[in-house]
C-alpha cells in the first residue's frame, strides 16, 4: 500500500518535470488522436466485427448462431458468387488496364512544352473524377439505355452495328460500365503520372538527346523506368478500386441491379446478401473472401510492376 503511495507521489513529481521531448510526444499523440478515434469507431470496429460475423448465422435481429465455416461453404458453392467474381475481374480489366496506358500517354502530352493551355486541359481531364458518381451513372444510364433510340445505339448505328440492350445483355452492360469507370478514373491517374513526369530531371533528356536517342527511345528508356514508383502506386490503387466496384453498376442498372446477374459485382453480391436477403453471416464471409482476393491480387500486381523495367539497370531509380 505504501509503495503504491510512493509510486503515485513519484509519478506526480515526474509529471511536473516533464521533459520537452515528452511534451512533444504527448502533443503529437493528441494531434493524431482524432483521426484514430474516428477510424477506430467507424473503420476498425466494423471491420473486425465483420470478420467475427463471417462465422455466425445472423439476420440482424435474432440471436447469433455460430456456424463455423458454413457461410464460406455456402458462398463458395453459389454459382452466382463465381459469376459476380468473373464479372468484377472482367470489368476491372476492361476498365482499368486501358486507363493506365491512356493515362501515361495523356500525361506525356500534357507535359510537353509545345502544347498551349495546358492548365485548361489539366483541369478538364480531372473534372470527371470530381463529378458526383451518382450523376455520372445516371447520365450514362440515359446514354446507354436499352432503347433502340438511345444515344449509344445511335452512335454505333453509324458504323453499321445493330442496337444493343446495354442494361440487360451480357457484354453490353459490362462494356457500358467499364467505359464509365474508364471515363471517371482516367483523369485521376493522368494527374498522378503528370506529377511523376515533372519530377524527372530535364538534364537526363538533354544527355540522351546528345547521345542520339530519339523521342520514342527516350520515352521507353528514361520516362517509363523513372515513372515506376508512380506506376506501382496507380496499379495498386486501381486493383483495389476495381475489385470493390459497386456504386457505378448499382446506379447505372437502377431498379434491376440486384435481380440480374450480367453486371453483378462481388460487393453488390454481398450487399444483396446483407440488405436484401437479411443474411449478414454470408455477406461478411463474402467480404472476408474479397479481402483475401484483393490482398492477393494487389500483391501480385505490385510484384509484377515493380519487376517491370528492372532488367535494365541503366538508370538509377
Amino acid at each position: 500500500m505504501e509503495n503504491v503511495h510512493k509510486q503515485a507521489r513519484a509519478s506526480t513529481v515526474k509529471a511536473k518535470k516533464l521533459s520537452e521531448k515528452k511534451k512533444d510526444m504527448i502533443s503529437g499523440y493528441l494531434y493524431v488522436a482524432p483521426f484514430f478515434i474516428v477510424f477506430g469507431i467507424i473503420g476498425l470496429y466494423p471491420a473486425i466485427f465483420s470478420i467475427v460475423l463471417a462465422f455466425q448465422k445472423w439476420n440482424g435481429l435474432g440471436e447469433m448462431e455460430f456456424v463455423g465455416m458454413n457461410n464460406f461453404a455456402i458462398v463458395l458453392q453459389d454459382p452466382l458468387f463465381w459469376k459476380s467474381l468473373y464479372n468484377t475481374v472482367l470489368m476491372g480489366l476492361m476498365g482499368t488496364a486501358p486507363q493506365l496506358i491512356v493515362g501515361i500517354i495523356l500525361a506525356y502530352f500534357l507535359n510537353m512544352a509545345v502544347i498551349r493551355f495546358t492548365n485548361f486541359f489539366r483541369v478538364t481531364i480531372f473534372m470527371p473524377y470530381i463529378t458526383s458518381m451518382v450523376a455520372v451513372a445516371l447520365v450514362f444510364g440515359v446514354f446507354f439505355s436499352s432503347n433502340e433510340s438511345a444515344l449509344a445505339n445511335y452512335v454505333i448505328g453509324w458504323f453499321g452495328f445493330d442496337p444493343v440492350s446495354w442494361k440487360t445483355s451480357e457484354w453490353g452492360a459490362k462494356i457500358a460500365i467499364s467505359l464509365m469507370v474508364f471515363w471517371r478514373w482516367v483523369g485521376y491517374n493522368t494527374i498522378i503520372y503528370l506529377a511523376g513526369l515533372q519530377s524527372i530531371p530535364k538534364d537526363l533528356y538533354e544527355a540522351a538527346t546528345i547521345d542520339g536517342a530519339n523521342k520514342v527511345q527516350q520515352f521507353f528508356h528514361i520516362t517509363i523506368p523513372l515513372l515506376k514508383p508512380f506506376i506501382v502506386l496507380t496499379v495498386f490503387m486501381s486493383t483495389v478500386g476495381a475489385l470493390q466496384l459497386f456504386a457505378e453498376p448499382t446506379v447505372f442498372l437502377g431498379s434491376s441491379a440486384f435481380s440480374r446477374d450480367e453486371a453483378m459485382t462481388v460487393v453488390m453480391y454481398l450487399y444483396r446478401d446483407a440488405f436484401n436477403l437479411g443474411s449478414f453471416g454470408t455477406a461478411s464471409a463474402t467480404a472476408v473472401l474479397l479481402l483475401i482476393i484483393i490482398v492477393g491480387a494487389a500483391a501480385l500486381n505490385t510484384w509484377l510492376t515493380s519487376g517491370a523495367g528492372s532488367k535494365k539497370r541503366g538508370v538509377k531509380s
Binding site: 504527448i26 478515434i37 435481429l61 435474432g62 453459389d78 437479411g278
Partner: protein, 428 residues
C-alpha cells in the same frame, strides 16, 4: 515506458470520446403520466401521407405533445428502421411498417411495445379483421401495430380497348362479364383478337392475380418453406401467368418503367390489377389516360391485398402511452377519411365506407366514377394472408423465372431452377 503512457493517454481519450458519442442525444427520462411535462415524439413515415398535417392538428389539441414527422422513401425508410431496431438504439417513438416488411420483425417481438398491454382491444372492432390479425403474433397475444391503410385490388380497365374488343364498358356490366378467371381469359382472347393488344401489362401482374389471393404462399406460420413440396398455391399462380403468356395475353411493360407509364398513358394494355394507391400515380403520370380508365371489382378468386401499413411503437421509447394515444387518434376512422381524401390512403376502418363524404367521392380522372365503392367492396373479400420474413426475397426469384419464361425459357425448367435457388437462399 514513455511510449506506453502516450498510448494509454490516447486510448483513454478515444474511449472517453466514444462513450461521449454514445451518450449523446439521450434526454433524461421524463416520467409517464406527468401531463404537464413537454413530450416529444419522433414519428417515421414513408411515401405520400398527410400525417404531417394531422400531427400538427394533434399538437394543437395537446399542447404538451410535440411530434417530429420524418418522411422518407419506402426503401430508405425500412432500411433505417431495420438498422435502428437491429442496433437497439436510434429508433423513433413511432414508425410505419409496410405490410410486406412486418414479418421480418416477428422474431424480434421484444423490440416492440405490445399494444395489447396498452389496451388496444378497445379499438379492435373499428378495423377490418384480416388487417388487424395481420399485426398479431402467431399466438394472438401480441400486437405489433395499429392498421393504417390497405391496398385492396380492383380492376382498372381502359374503355377504348374494351370498346374496340366489343366488351362492355360500364363498370357493373364488366364485373358481370368478367367474374371468374376463365371469363377473364375469354375477355383477354377478345382483346387480343380484336385489337392485338395484351390484356395485362406484365408477367408480374399476371402472376399476382392469383398470388395476392393466396392465404398460404411461400411459408407456413412455423416458417417452413411450402413451395418445394407442392403444398402452396404458388405453382397454380405461376402456371396461370405462364398460360396467359403462352396465349399472348401478357405484355412486356415492367411496372414503374417509362415504357409502362407510356402504355398506361396511351392504353397499351387493357387491364391493370392494382389497389387504390395507383390512382395517385396515374393522375400524375398518365394525363392522356384521363377519362379513359374505369375501375371495377375483380373476379373473387383474384381478390387480394397489395400494400398498406401499420404504425408500430419500438420498445426503446420512453413515452409509450403518449405514442399509443397519438397513433390511436391518427388512425381513427375520422382521420382515416381525411387521409383517404387528401392522400388516397385507403381506409382500413370499414365504418369509413359508410360515411357520406366517402360515398359521394367522385373521381374526375375516372370520368366522374365513384371508384371508392369498388375498392371498398374488394376490401371486404380479402383473405387473411401470411407472407413470412423472407417473402420479398423468395418472390423475386419467382419473378425472375417468369421473366425468363417470357423471354423464351421453358416454364418447368425455370420453375425448378427458381425453387432450387430459393432453397439455397433459405440456408443463408
Amino acid at each position: 515506458m514513455n511510449f506506453r503512457k502516450g498510448l494509454l493517454a490516447v486510448l483513454l481519450l478515444s474511449l472517453s470520446a466514444f462513450l461521449f458519442a454514445c451518450s449523446g442525444g439521450e434526454d433524461s427520462a421524463s416520467g409517464e403520466g406527468q401531463k404537464d411535462k413537454e413530450i416529444t415524439l419522433d414519428f417515421w413515415v414513408f411515401g405520400a401521407t398527410n400525417y404531417e398535417a394531422l400531427a400538427k392538428e394533434y399538437e394543437k389539441e395537446n399542447p404538451n405533445v410535440k411530434i417530429n414527422v420524418k418522411t422518407s422513401e419506402l426503401g430508405d425508410h425500412h432500411n433505417s428502421l431495420f438498422t435502428a431496431i437491429s442496433a437497439g438504439t436510434g429508433a423513433p417513438d413511432l414508425a410505419m411498417i409496410e405490410v410486406d416488411q412486418l414479418d421480418r420483425y416477428r422474431e424480434a417481438q421484444d423490440r416492440f411495445v405490445n399494444l395489447y398491454d396498452l389496451g388496444a382491444e378497445e379499438v379492435q372492432d373499428q378495423y377490418l379483421d384480416w388487417k388487424w390479425n395481420g399485426a398479431e403474433n402467431g399466438e394472438g397475444d401480441f400486437l405489433f401495430g395499429l392498421p393504417t391503410d390497405i391496398g385492396p385490388k380492383a380492376m382498372y380497365y381502359h374503355t377504348d380497348v374494351f370498346e374496340n374488343a366489343s366488351l362492355p364498358t360500364d363498370p357493373d356490366k364488366v364485373s358481370e362479364v368478367i367474374s371468374t378467371p376463365d371469363e377473364f381469359k375469354d375477355a383477354a382472347k377478345k382483346v387480343l383478337d380484336e385489337t392485338g393488344q395484351p390484356m395485362v401489362d406484365s408477367m408480374e401482374m399476371a402472376f399476382r392475380a392469383h398470388m395476392d389471393a393466396l392465404e398460404d404462399s411461400y411459408f407456413n406460420r412455423d416458417g417452413e418453406l411450402l413451395i418445394g413440396n407442392g403444398e402452396s398455391g404458388v405453382k397454380e399462380a405461376y402456371d396461370f401467368a405462364v398460360d396467359l403468356d403462352s396465349e399472348g395475353y401478357v405484355g412486356n411493360f415492367e411496372m414503374w418503367t417509362p415504357e409502362w407509364a407510356n402504355a398506361l398513358n396511351k392504353g397499351g394494355f387493357a387491364v391493370e390489377m392494382a389497389p387504390a394507391w395507383l390512382k395517385g400515380y396515374m393522375t400524375e403520370n398518365a394525363p392522356e389516360g384521363k377519362g379513359k380508365w374505369r375501375v371495377t371489382t375483380l373476379p373473387e378468386q383474384f381478390a387480394g391485398n397489395w400494400g398498406g401499413s401499420y404504425v408500430a411503437i419500438p420498445a426503446e421509447t420512453e413515452h409509450e402511452k403518449a405514442a399509443y394515444e397519438f397513433s390511436k387518434w391518427l388512425l381513427s376512422p375520422e382521420n382515416q377519411l381525411k387521409s383517404f381524401v387528401e392522400s388516397g390512403l385507403f381506409p382500413s376502418a370499414p365504418s369509413v365506407y359508410e360515411m357520406e363524404e366517402f360515398k359521394n367521392n367522385s373521381d374526375e380522372y375516372f370520368g366522374g366514377q365513384n371508384t371508392a365503392k369498388y375498392f371498398a367492396e374488394a376490401a371486404k373479400q380479402i383473405p387473411e394472408v401470411y407472407k413470412g420474413p423472407k417473402y420479398v426475397t423468395v418472390n423475386n426469384e419467382i419473378l425472375t423465372a417468369l421473366r425468363n419464361v417470357q423471354e423464351g425459357g421453358d416454364p418447368e425448367k425455370e420453375w425448378e431452377a427458381a425453387v432450387k435457388r430459393i432453397e439455397d437462399l433459405m440456408k443463408r
